[in-house]
Symmetry: C2
Amino acid sequence: MRFLRRTIIAVILIAVIVQIVFLPPIILVPLVLLWIFMASREFTALMQKLGVHLPALLLPLANLIFPVSLMVDFAFRGATPDSIHLSELMLPCAVVCLYGIFARPPRAPQLGYAVFGIIYLSFLPAHLIMIRYLPGIRPMVVLFPLLATWVNDTGAYGFGRWLGRHKLTPISPNKTWEGFIAGVIVTVAFSVIYLRRLMPSVGLVPSAVLGLVLGVIAQAGDLVESIFKREAGVKDSSSALSEHGGFLDRADSLLFTLPAFYYFFTFLVSR
Amino acid sequence: MRFLRRTIIAVILIAVIVQIVFLPPIILVPLVLLWIFMASREFTALMQKLGVHLPALLLPLANLIFPVSLMVDFAFRGATPDSIHLSELMLPCAVVCLYGIFARPPRAPQLGYAVFGIIYLSFLPAHLIMIRYLPGIRPMVVLFPLLATWVNDTGAYGFGRWLGRHKLTPISPNKTWEGFIAGVIVTVAFSVIYLRRLMPSVGLVPSAVLGLVLGVIAQAGDLVESIFKREAGVKDSSSALSEHGGFLDRADSLLFTLPAFYYFFTFLVSR
C-alpha cells in the first residue's frame, strides 16, 4: 500500500515535469520558483531544529530573486545563460547581510547559514532555468539530467535493498556501498544509451563520463541533505509529498546534478 | 606612538598596493592569493572560537581554486570577466561538500560555514582580479574602489571620534551614526571629484550614486565581519598587521566594495 502510493505519486510527479519540459521555457519558471519557495521553507524549519532561527520568509523570498532575475534576462531581454549577471546573485546575499546586521541580536550562524541557503536553494536550482534557456536546446536534452538522477536514485535504492551488505556512511544508515555502485553503473548505462540516440556527436566516452559524474554527484547531493536532516533529528524535510517526504527530499540529488550537467554540457558543446 | 606606527604601516600598505596596481595585471594575482590564504586562516580560527572546527588548510587552499582558475582564464586563455566560468566556483564548493560527507563525525555547521567561507573569502575578493582584467581598464580606475574604501574608513573613523554621539549598533560599540554619515559624505565627495577628472563621461549623478553605494556598503562589510568577531569574543581577526589587526580586518570593507564597484562599473560601461 505504502509502495503503491509512493509509486503513484512518483508517476504523477514525473509525468507533470516531463509535460512541462516540453512546453515553452517560461512555463518551467513558476514550477522552479514554487519548488524553491517550498524547499526554502523546509530548510528554514531544519535550521530552526539546529537552533538557528531565521525569519520564516527570509530565505523563501530572498531565494526567488536570482531565478526571477534570470527569467527576466532570458525571456524579456534576450540574454543567454553564458552571459548571466552575477550581480543578481549578490542581491539576495545583500538582503541576508542587511538582515544579519539589523537582527536583534545579530548572530553569526544566521548569517553563515543564510548565505549557504542562497547558494544551496537558489543558485543551484536556478541551473534548471539556465539549462532550459540554453540556445537551441531540445526538451529531450533538458530531460536527460532529470531522468539520469531518477534512474540513479531508483537503481541505488533497488539494488541496495537486494544486494546491500556494506554500510556506506553513518550519515544515512540505509545506504550501502552495493547500492551506491549499482546506482552509478545504471546511470552510466542510461547515459550511454540515451545520449547515443539523442546526440550521437557526443561520443561514447564523454557520455559514460557524464553518467559517472552524475551518478556519483547525485548520491553526494543526497548525503549533503542527510547531514542536515540527521543533525536536526528528522527523517524527511517535511511530509508535503506524502511517502516522498518534502520538496527538499525530492530534489536533493537534482540540486547537484543539474549544475554538473549544465557545466559539463556547455563545455562539451563549446569544444 | 601607537598612532604613528598605525600610520606608517598604512602608508606602506597603500604604497605597495598602489605600485602593484600599475604593474601588469598578473602581478596583482599573487597578492590577492596571499591575502585570501591568510584571511581564510584567520576566518578558520574565528570559526574555531565559535565551536565550528574546520581543518586548518581546508578553506585557505579551497579558496585559492576560483581566483587561480580566473587567472588562468584571463592570462592564458584570453577570456574576459564577462564570460567567467561559474563552474570554477563550483569546484571549491565540491571540495567542501566532499569534506562534509567524509568528515568524522559529519556535521552541518562545518558544511554551512565552509560554503559561506568560499563566497565570503574567495568569490568576493576574486572581484579585484576581475576588475583588473576588464578590457581596456586603466590602473587609476582599478585604484578607485580601493581609495574610496580607505577614504570612507578614514572619514568615518576621524569624524566619528570628533563628533560621534549616537551609537550605531551593538555589534561594533565604537561606531556612531555621526561617523557613518560622515564616512558616506566624504566618499560621495571623493567619488565625484575623482571620477569627474578621470572619467568625465560617467556624469555627476552616477558618480555621486556610486560614492553613496560604496560608502554604505563599505561600512556594511565592516559590520558583517564584526558580527563574527563579536560572537567569537575577539577584537581583531589576528595581529598579523600590528595595529591594523589581521588580513581580514584590513579588507572587510573591500570584500563588499570591490564586487559593488565591479557590477556598478560594468553596468555603466555597458550602457
